[in-house]
Each structure stands twice: as structure tokens, then as C-alpha cells.
């Protein structure tokens, strides 16, 4: 699966590339407008991570060019401008999603995964991972064909973990993903602990191995035990 990261900040671009590479994506990078244009013309990508403010041009122009050429590449806009207009314009031009800086890398991972799912498995709404089957449309989970009843939040949580398989996601990133980041909602993140505890208990009761592990007291990691 090939991704293109169009981002002029080399440090950020590197982080994104490294993080997504853990998920076996092949990442190409472009640091400025012209090389980005060249790349989108020559190749097709499962998803393009597009920064709006670029040297010598706007990311929105690249998006327009993509659509003009009738390309189907998924596009995730990342922007530091965080203006509602940018978001609306970007989505109207055909971008699939919008993420404002500074974002959590797992959030980016989940969004990219969601875009790729929508683009590549049209009609097929299932994620199969080890013995687990997540139904995207019905938002349900099956373990070896047996339904595991999950609450909405538990399902979203599991999907988030699965989208960031083998990577540590922090509590803060989870809160932002599940509850939004509009406000300083809580002075501690204990409340997500109960959701995670319930999810782990339900998975254990359904006879699953320990998929979700706590890491350094700051986050969790979903992985398939070997």
C-alpha cells in the first residue's frame, strides 16, 4: 500500500513516515509544491497526506489537480491554519478528511486507515484481524464467528486500536479520538480506564488472547501475541 506525504516540515514528514511505516505502508515524501505535483501525476496512492501551506503553492491546488485528472487517491488534509473555511473548502474540493495540527500520530494512523478502507474495500465492510472480525457498517465484533457485544465506545476504541496495530497509543490520543478535542474536558483520564477495562474483560470472556497491553502507564498497545 503506497502513501504520499506532502509536507514541507521535514521533521514532521519524517515522523509521519516512520509511524506509518510500522503498519507496512510504503511512504513517499514530497517537500514542496512542484515535486508533489510530479508525484501525483506519475503515481497512484492509496492515500495522500496533504499539507495546505507549502512553499510555492497551496495544497488545495494539488487537490484540484488530482480531481481534474480524475484520480481516485484518498486525500487527508493536515493544516496548521485550522480555519473552518480551509476545512470546508478542502472537503468540498473532494478531500476525504481533515486533521488540524498538532495532531496525535495514532489519530493520523486511524484516519489514514479509515480512508484506505473506504477506498479499497468498497462493498466489503469488514476488518479481519487474527480471530477478530469487525463489521464497519453495523459496528459489531465477532470472535471466531461468535458475536461479542460491545458498547459503541468500546467498539470505537477497538477500531482505533486495530487501526494502530502494534503501536503505542496514549490516553490523551484516545480521549481526543473518542471525545473530540474541543475542550479541556477532564483533569485526569481515569474515565477511559473503565472503558478499556470493560473491553479487555469482554475480549477475555470471549476467549481472546491478551490483545491490549498497558505500556509505561501512559498508553496501550494492540498486538497479536505470537
Amino acid at each position: 500500500m503506497k502513501l504520499l506525504i506532502i509536507e514541507d516540515e521535514k521533521d514532521l514528514s519524517d515522523s509521519i513516515r516512520q509511524y506509518l511505516a510500522l503498519e507496512q505502508y510504503t511512504c513517499e515524501v514530497a517537500y514542496e509544491f512542484e515535486s508533489a505535483l510530479d508525484k501525483i501525476c506519475l503515481n497512484e496512492y492509496a492515500c495522500i497526506i496533504l499539507d495546505i501551506t507549502l512553499p510555492n503553492g497551496s495544497g488545495l491546488e494539488i487537490l484540484k489537480e488530482l480531481k481534474r485528472q480524475g484520480k481516485e487517491d484518498g486525500v487527508l488534509i493536515v493544516s496548521a491554519r485550522n480555519s473552518p473555511d480551509d476545512k470546508i473548502v478542502g472537503l468540498n474540493l473532494g478531500a476525504d478528511d481533515y486533521l488540524s495540527k498538532p495532531f496525535h500520530l495514532p489519530e493520523l494512523g486511524a484516519r489514514v486507515a479509515a480512508i484506505i478502507r473506504r477506498k479499497s474495500f468498497s462493498g466489503q465492510n469488514q476488518i479481519v484481524i487474527d480471530h477478530l472480525t469487525l463489521d464497519i457498517r453495523d459496528k459489531t465484533l465477532k470472535n471466531n464467528e461468535e458475536a461479542v457485544p460491545l458498547t459503541r465506545k468500546e467498539y470505537e476504541l477497538l477500531l482505533y486500536f486495530v487501526s494502530n496495530k502494534n503501536r503505542v497509543v496514549t490516553k490523551e490520543a484516545i480521549v481526543t479520538h473518542l471525545w473530540g478535542d474541543d475542550v479541556d474536558m477532564a483533569d485526569n483520564y481515569d474515565f477511559i480506564y473503565s472503558h478499556i477495562k470493560n473491553l479487555r474483560r469482554k475480549l477475555a470472556e470471549a476467549g481472546c488472547p491478551e490483545y491490549i497491553k498497558a505500556v509505561y502507564g501512559m498508553g496501550y498497545k494492540f498486538s497479536i501475541p505470537s
Partner: protein, 418 residues
């Protein structure tokens, strides 16, 4: 007191004093003139009498109907000539009148005669009355005239001033425009207007620079923040970090989150100030609040906070995004500042939303409450921008917000015209 009233008061009292004084002066002057005339005619009479006595060496016959009353009596020595005012019976008018009397001595033969010749001081009363009446009438005429004139002229003259005042009343820094003052045609007012325009332009400029600085600083911070956060996200992926490294990373991560949140709030504030949220539509507040209650359930449960909601369906015309942020902030604020086991009450009725929560300690400082970076406790984890954002949103959406502390509860009331 209005300028007109004050001016009229001073003007009129000074005028009244001047008129009364001038009336008195007139009276004295004219009555003196009268007396002087009387004295002259009495003198003439005396001279005639003198000539007559010289020629005939006897007293003339005094006609009874003469204007002048003459009395005489023999005396031993010659008296000095003198004028006096006396009161005597006036046979003609059948009452006491004031007379001007001249006393002098004439020698007829060997006998001295003291003569008193007197003339009534006629018209003094009439004079007094006339002068008083004239003064009063003139005073009234001038007073009413000046009141009317002042009203018309001053109003016209001061019009530019009042126009300027009105413009000033509407001036608001955050709107970013300087009112255009009409040219006054009066040097003082033109100067005032020029000075005011200058000061406002400067204030606006300073305000804009400050705002742009905040905005630019916040924007510029976004990218480094994104880089730091992404690097931390990567570092924690490393296997085999020691516990102390993990702890250090954890606190770095938390701090970055606080910084990101702070920055986001500042950006939001500048965006609200720049009125970037213009679209307005009717929002079903009941539905919006119900949705929020579900969203916040977890936070409240985790803290053991009891939430009671009394919601009546009502609509609010405002920007959807801003109202969403407003509700988030208000509810988050209530949850954040309520202790374990406290309670939050939400009451919605047409035109009003009240959110109350158990207070940890006493009342908040109502004067500084909505200022940026206001914190009750210095070590608080919140960035002190929540209420500032709430206030800003209320201001731009025309919602009134008030805070009250009552029986151990903080009450925040939002009110809007239905």
C-alpha cells in the same frame, strides 16, 4: 446636569441680579433728577418772592390754587436756606404726601419771616412702579428670549459635539473601525474630532498588532508543537524504555498536550474576535444539550458527579460551531471545577440556560472571572481560557452571561432575546 441646564442656570441668575441692580440704579438716578427739578422750581419761586418783597416791601397774596404751598412766620433771626423732604397733608388729594420743602428767610421791614415753600414730589410712586414693571417685563423678555435662543443656538453649536459623543459611545476596539466624524466648522470641535480620531486609530492599530501577534504566535507554534508531539509519539513506540524514561516521557507528553490545548484556545479566541464564524441558524438547544449530556456522561461518572437536567425545548439563533464550543466549555467547566461527588444542574427554558455546579470554595471574583488566564488556584491544570472563550462567544452572538454564587453553588446564566 446637562451643559444647557448648567449654562442657563448661571446665565439667568447673573441676568436677574444685573436687572435688579440696574432697576435700583435707574430709580435712584431718575428720582434724584426729579428732586433736582423741584429744587430749581422752588428756587425760582424764592427768587420771584424775593424780587416782589424788594419792590413792594410787603408779602404778596398767595393764590390758594397755586402749585406751591407757602407758609411763613415771623422769626427773630435769619435762618439758613435749606431743602428738605417732608411729609404733609395734601388738601387736594386728601392724604399725606411727600413734599420737597425749601426754607428761607426774608426781611420785610424790620421783621424776619421764615418761609416754607413746598411742592409735592409727584410721580415718585408712579416712577417706582413704572421702573419695577419695566425691569420685570424686560427681565422676563430677555430671560425667555435667551432661553429660546440658547436652546436653538447652543443646540446647533454643540451639535457636532453630541454627534461625536454618540459616535464614541458606539466605538469598540474589537470591531476595528474608526468612526468618521462630521466636519464641525468650529475649531475646538474639529480639534477634538481630530484628536479623538487619532487616538482611536492608534488604539485600533495597537489592538490589531497585539491581536495579530497572538494569532501569528499561535500559528507559528502549531508546527513545532506538531513536530514535538509526533516525535514523542514515535519515541514511545521504542521497545525497552526504562521506567524513568517512561515517566519522563509521560510528563513531557502531558505538558505538550497542555501547550497544544492552550494554543488551540488562543487561536479560537482570535478566530472568534475576527468574526470568522458568521453563519447563523436556529439551533435546537434541547437536542444539542441532550447530545452533550451523553458525551459528558463518562467524565461525570468517573468523578461521581450527579447531573440533573431540566430541559424545555427552545431555539437559539446563533452559529452552530460556536454554540457547540460554548456548550462544551460550559459543561466541561462545570465538570472540571466540581469535586468528587458534587453535583451539576442544567436548566433550559426559553431565553435562558442555567448551569450550576457545587462550589469547592467560595464565590469567584466576578470582576476578573471572564478575563484571560483567570485562575482561582495558581496550580490549576486548566489554562484559564475556558470562561474567556465562553464570554467571547456570548459577546459575538448577543447572548448575555452572568455569574452568581448562591448557597454553595456557582450559577452561570445565559440569556438571550426570544
Amino acid at each position: 446636569m446637562k451643559l444647557f441646564t448648567k449654562y442657563n442656570r448661571i446665565n439667568l441668575s447673573v441676568m436677574a441680579v444685573v436687572f435688579v441692580l440696574s432697576g435700583i440704579a435707574y430709580y435712584l438716578l431718575i428720582s434724584n433728577l426729579f428732586i433736582h427739578e423741584l429744587d430749581e422750581s422752588l428756587n425760582d419761586y424764592k427768587d420771584k418772592l424775593h424780587v416782589f418783597i424788594k419792590q413792594h416791601n410787603e408779602l404778596p397774596r398767595f393764590e390758594f390754587f397755586e402749585d406751591i404751598v407757602v407758609t411763613y412766620e415771623p422769626v427773630n433771626v435769619a435762618l439758613k436756606k435749606k431743602f428738605v423732604l417732608v411729609s404733609r397733608f395734601n388738601a387736594e388729594e386728601q392724604k399725606e404726601s411727600t413734599y420737597r420743602q425749601l426754607t428761607f428767610t426774608e426781611k420785610i421791614g424790620d421783621t424776619y419771616y421764615a418761609f416754607n415753600i413746598a411742592k409735592p414730589v409727584e410721580g415718585t410712586k408712579t416712577l417706582t412702579k413704572t421702573i419695577a414693571a419695566t425691569t420685570l417685563v424686560l427681565l422676563l423678555a430677555i430671560v425667555s428670549g435667551s432661553v429660546v435662543l440658547n436652546r436653538i443656538i447652543l443646540k446647533k453649536l454643540w451639535k457636532p459635539f453630541y454627534t461625536t459623543l454618540e459616535e464614541l459611545g458606539h466605538f469598540k476596539l474589537s470591531r476595528g473601525y474608526v468612526p468618521v466624524f462630521a466636519t464641525a466648522g468650529i475649531e475646538e470641535f474639529s480639534f477634538l474630532n481630530r484628536t479623538l480620531s487619532g487616538v482611536m486609530r492608534e488604539a485600533n492599530n495597537d489592538y490589531r498588532i497585539l491581536k495579530e501577534f497572538t494569532e501569528n504566535a499561535a500559528h507559528e507554534l502549531q508546527t513545532p508543537l506538531a513536530i514535538i508531539r509526533s516525535k514523542l509519539d514515535l519515541v514511545i513506540q521504542e521497545e525497552g524504555l526504562t521506567d524513568s524514561q517512561g515517566l519522563a516521557l509521560k510528563s513531557a507528553y502531558t505538558s505538550i498536550n497542555r501547550l497544544a490545548k492552550l494554543n488551540q484556545s488562543l487561536l479560537l479566541l482570535t478566530k472568534i474576535e475576527n468574526r470568522q464564524f458568521a453563519a447563523v441558524q436556529a439551533i435546537d438547544l434541547e437536542a444539542a444539550l441532550k447530545e452533550k449530556l451523553v458525551q459528558f456522561e463518562d467524565f461525570w461518572n468517573a468523578k461521581g458527579i450527579t447531573v440533573t437536567a431540566d430541559l424545555t425545548a427552545t431555539a437559539l439563533k446563533a452559529n452552530t460551531e460556536l454554540v457547540d464550543i460554548l456548550l462544551n466549555n460550559m459543561l466541561a467547566n462545570a465538570a472540571l471545577h466540581t469535586q468528587q461527588g458534587g453535583s451539576v444542574m442544567i436548566r433550559l427554558c426559553p431565553g435562558m440556560l442555567r448551569i450550576s455546579n457545587t462550589a469547592v470554595s467560595g464565590s469567584l471574583d466576578n470582576t476578573r472571572l471572564f478575563h484571560r488566564f483567570y485562575k482561582k488556584a495558581a496550580h490549576s491544570q486548566s489554562n484559564g481560557l475556558g470562561l474567556s472563550i465562553i464570554k467571547q462567544i456570548c459577546d459575538v452572538q448577543g447572548i448575555g452571561i452572568t455569574y452568581r454564587f448562591e448557597s454553595g453553588f456557582h450559577h452561570f446564566d445565559l440569556q438571550w432575546p426570544v
